[in-house]
């Protein structure tokens, strides 16, 4: 009996059941806090026709960008995709369907899905291409558009520390979309830098309670930096 123990033995097991044409929700912002080994496993599996929901789509050779190269992604829902040449090529040639979605709306679509809310009104995007074809309602003299939430067949998440029950703590701005993604998967798979026995993390410090997590694995991470900006010692 495994009880609440969410730990799986391999990346293969972590993504068992992922099939062609499924929807995957991914945590991460740029290359920060991305589930890099789970993405590699999707590449290894060769799953095709995927719909990917993520703020960005990685760079050409890292992050979700590696799935573009092998044409595994059919549709992407993202807010910003500017760092990726292959992405631009596939989008302009029509090979890839892109739904540009405001960043706050994207976060809320995940959050709402996880909270059982099918749709919500927001002022963001009203009167712009994002609002085209969407229901408009007026509250207190302001116009809002109706945005639907997005549930994933799988959610892939990167945490810093986890306990075996799937309680998660993120580190610094690697948190970003990960907490919402964790709630929005029919199957939520988490990779963490460290997994400790249940009971060792302070309940007051948990960012994502284990109830949202189905599978958990410990990984090692490259943590590539996209824009390495530094100041020199003594410089303000």
């Amino acid at each position: 009996m495994s009880g609440f123990n969410k730990v799986v033995a391999s990346y293969q097991e972590a993504l068992a059941g992922l099939e062609d044409n499924m929807t995957i929700i991914a945590g991460g912002f740029g290359l920060c806090g991305i589930p890099e080994n789970l993405i590699q496993e999707i590449k290894r599996k060769g799953t095709k026709g995927l719909t990917v929901v993520s703020n960005n789509c990685g760079v050409d050779d890292f992050g979700l960008g590696v799935l573009l190269k092998d044409r595994q992604i059919e549709k992407i829902i993202a807010s910003y995709v500017g760092e990726n040449a292959e992405f631009e090529r596939q989008m302009l040639s029509g090979e890839l369907e892109v739904v540009l979605t405001p960043q706050g709306t994207l976060a809320e679509k995940m959050r709402a899905a996880g909270a059982g809310i099918p749709a919500f009104y927001t002022a963001t995007g009203y009167g712009t291409p994002v609002g085209e074809g969407k229901e408009v309602r007026t509250f207190n003299d302001r116009n809002y558009i109706l945005e639907e939430s997005i549930k994933g067949d799988f959610a892939i998440v990167k945490a810093w520390k986890a306990d075996t029950y799937g309680n998660l703590i993120y580190r610094k701005t690697a948190r970003n979309f990960n907490p919402m993604a964790a709630t929005a998967g029919k199957i939520t798979v988490v990779e963490a830098e460290e997994i400790v026995p249940a009971g060792e993390l302070d309940p007051d410090q948990i960012h994502t309670p284990g109830i949202y997590v189905d599978r958990l694995i410990q990984g090692t991470f490259e943590k590539r930096i996209e824009q390495r900006t530094i100041r020199h010692s003594g410089e303000q």
Binding site: L106, Y126, N176, Q227, T229
Partner: protein, 218 residues
């Protein structure tokens, strides 16, 4: 003389107030952080989930887990907090940010802004810009007054896809500081040495010039 990027940032910084929570977009807005008056406390919000963004790290301080919305490595300032993207946009969409500064391709007399897409040419995405312009009351747009080819960016109607509708009230260009009131541009200040006739010639939308126009203090 038209303002340099740094001078534009300096002028925007004069709009800061002690205790302001501020979101700065990429480009000229980012430079505003360099001109926060020393007698003032201002906290910078970075929409990837950081309130209290600090300066760039030293080589030793670099942390891949600590970046800003431009994906640059940063540090945290005193009193910073870190949170999820949903929390970050609750702040933005809930109108809790005191000042937002962002760039644009075009603004029109109706307060519409186009900043995220040039069809067939540049399609990178809106990131958090649509949320920022929809959620904030106090927004300053920074951009050059005209394109390199001399085409006005202050129009009677935006020609590019909109980032937000009717949400812009203030624009700081390299030539002028302009407020939008009742469907017209109003010239508040001109850059030092820039003739009002030049500003008029480069403003395609209706421009009201009162006798109270001041020279910018840079």
């Amino acid at each position: 003389m038209a303002l340099t990027r740094e001078q534009m940032a300096m002028r925007v910084a004069q709009e800061l107030q002690d205790g302001f929570y501020v979101n700065l977009g990429i480009g000229i807005p980012t430079l505003v952080a360099n001109y926060v008056p020393s007698n003032m406390e201002v906290m910078l919000q970075s929409e990837n989930g950081l309130l209290g963004m600090g300066q760039f790290p030293t080589e030793e301080e670099i942390d891949a887990d600590l970046i800003n919305a431009g994906k640059q490595t940063v540090t945290v300032a005193k009193g910073a907090s870190i949170f999820s993207s949903a929390e970050s946009f609750a702040m933005i969409r809930g109108g809790h940010v005191d000042l937002t500064v962002l760039g644009a391709f075009e603004v029109d007399v109706h307060g519409n802004i186009a900043s995220y897409m040039i069809p067939g040419k540049l399609i990178k995405g809106m990131g958090g810009a649509m949320d920022l312009v929809a959620g904030a009351d106090n927004i300053i747009v920074t951009m050059t007054h005209a394109s390199k080819h001399g085409e006005s960016k202050l129009l009677s109607q935006c020609s590019l896809p909109l980032t937000g509708k009717g949400c812009i009230k203030k624009i700081l260009t390299d030539l002028a500081y302009i407020e939008i009131i009742d469907g017209k541009f109003h010239l508040l200040e001109h850059a030092p040495g820039v003739e009002i006739e030049q500003i008029k010639a480069l403003t395609a939308g209706e421009l009201v010039v009162s006798e109270h126009v001041k020279e910018m203090n840079i």
